[in-house]
Symmetry: C2
Subunit: 352 residues, 2 copies
DNA sequence: GTGAAAGCGCTAACAC
DNA sequence: GTGTTAGCGCTTTCAC
């Protein structure tokens, strides 16, 4: 069943049917009603593909994410998805598995004309090929919005967080507890959250006159397993740190695994502050102090920026050239894991 | 740039270009090369929408899930997504938020023509409207595969798990520990996992000559908050249960929240066994004994079934009428939370 | 306010 | 082996 069947049935031309389908004005109320009646009666719904071909665009947006199972990303997707649904966009989900090759492959197979926009958390900011491909999308009129991670060699609209400030606050919280020997398990240096959080760590130390110890900086690549190894390495130092800042949720889990294995009590034998919260820990003995941010809203915001770009493309809005890069604020939630039994202040309050 | 440009440039007809694009045989090696050269040279890629319109189908599959952020569903998505990518399908993700109205809305807006297949974890099996819509999809040639939950009034291909058996094993494990007063926080009665797991609970009791106590059965609707309330209710009974079976991961979290609040020690003051594991707990003091199943594989399997249906539709395979309903096995991982200090066997081994 | 008709870019008979 | 051509279902000028 197509627009012609409806037209015939309603005794009008396909053009008119198309008009009511698209809510055009110039249609007599009477004919409009008649047509809508027929449409309902025949339970007709227009063919999106044909429509897309005709108008040369779609309402599909692609969301590319490094790890489908990471709750942080799920939450972003949730934000994107809710806002997309409200505005009748459909979102395709692609997992890159933290693998640039896979990222390229997906980007190549994404038919440009099928996508109206692209939201991506790129695997690596050092990757030129991804940057090239993204630029191509923009050139073809498909706007790109980054979330959380940046790319070099190009500027796109983006939603980031105050990684440096958040990390700095976290480490300063440890310093306030009296810690001087503070380690960090970093993310990859090729991602904004990776290097900015490290920068925040360094700044906190500098602000407080604590000199940097290279041994205390180990990369965990935001991966649980590597972070576990990193934690082992830190603890096995001759002069191990009394506190560790873990750079993201996976990093924190890896570190916790190590502590558990060694039967070290968090908030007593060792202190840990993490970036990004882990909801499930709330009902356990792990009272994690963590940097938090409005993750769901980051997704919504990315979608909002995209829509703005669509409107600009249609000439509805001006200032086509301004690139929008939003920074969301972070805040620290203290729960006790920043404490240490050997340092002033004690940790009793948290271990009742 | 389109197929005509390429044709002109290569000095052939658009049909021939189309032939090489689609790997048809009847093309002279020489012309094929020539055309491929031009394609590469002009960096041309065919328009998927036009192709879809022409052949009357797409490679898009829709995945509808009740809760985008539940890790259980993320894992399923991961399975679907990986397999889809390997076979060049694209997956649209839709979150129904456990809301039938939203589910209907999405189903209605999913233009039938745009989807080649549908994988869904329906909100409620009692919902006729969803069932009707799904049937319509199948009638229009869009196969539907259910995961985890069923719908009444219709039969679709599906991937379920052995909910009853899994729950039964979990509860029998508690019974083996000496428990006689065992509570359950159930899921909604309108979902297969909900009622089947309850059935498993009942069967375990019956198998072991333990009579049913209605007070011990409380519905948590698979929601964390409701489950928290349910746990409170159980503990406030005059003769509270010594052990509780929690029917899914969210249910377990709600119960844990309550225990934490009341400072009850899991595996000592009370025993809990849950359906579905919670990864994050591994590094905490919560040694949850849980029913486990191959979640990622359930996603892959759903996708595999869908592809099979596509092949059948194309007449590649026979036996068009057989409905395929797969049941994945579950197994129990014991970690100590089934123990209780007041019962034989002791729990010391788990509290070193 | 409405209709006729020319596309959108590709595929698939059918003819040669 | 290759070309011609008529769609796929919709939108959108341009007339009327």
């Amino acid at each position: 069943m197509n627009i012609y069947d409806i037209a015939k049935e309603a005794g009008v031309s396909p053009a008119t049917v198309s008009r009511v389908l698209n809510n055009h004005k110039n249609v007599k109320e009477e004919t409009r009603n008649k047509i809508q009646e027929v449409i309902k009666g025949k339970n007709y719904s227009p063919n999106t593909i044909a429509r897309n071909l005709s108008v040369g665009t779609s309402r599909n947006i692609a969301f590319m994410v490094p790890d489908i199972e990471n709750p942080f990303f799920s939450k972003i997707l949730h934000g994107i998805s809710d806002r997309a649904m409200d505005n009748d966009y459909n979102v395709f989900m692609f997992g890159t598995a933290e693998n640039t090759a896979r990222e390229h492959k997906i980007l190549d197979s994404l038919k440009i004309e099928m996508m109206k926009g692209l939201i991506i958390i790129p695997v690596s900011e050092a990757d030129r090929e991804t940057a090239e491909r993204l630029k191509e999308f923009e050139e073809q009129g498909v706007p790109v919005v980054l979330i959380d991670r940046d790319v070099r060699n190009a500027r796109f609209d983006a939603v980031f967080s105050e990684d440096m400030e958040g990390a700095c606050e976290a480490v300063e919280c440890l310093i306030e507890e009296g810690h001087k020997k503070i380690g960090i398990i970093t993310g990859p240096d090729t991602s904004r959250p990776g290097h900015e959080r490290l920068k925040g760590y360094k700044r906190a130390l500098a602000n407080n006159g604590i000199s940097l110890n290279k041994d205390y900086i180990i990369c965990g690549n935001f991966m649980e397993d590597e972070s576990y190894e990193a934690m082992k390495q830190l603890l096995d130092l001759e002069d191990p740190p009394t506190a560790v800042f873990t750079s993201n949720n996976m990093t924190t889990l890896g570190a916790l695994r190590c502590l558990k294995e060694r039967q070290m009590k968090l908030g007593a034998d060792i202190s840990v502050v993490g970036f990004d919260d882990i909801k499930e820990l709330a009902y356990t003995d792990i009272h994690l102090t963590a940097v938090t941010r409005p993750v769901y809203e980051m997704g919504c915001e990315a979608m909002r920026i995209l829509e703005r770009r669509f409107r600009k493309a249609e000439g509805v809005e001006e200032e086509k050239l301004i690139i929008q890069r939003n920074l969301v604020k972070t805040w620290l939630i203290k729960r006790g894991s920043e404490k240490h039994k050997d340092l002033s202040g004690g940790s009793d309050t948290y271990h009742t």
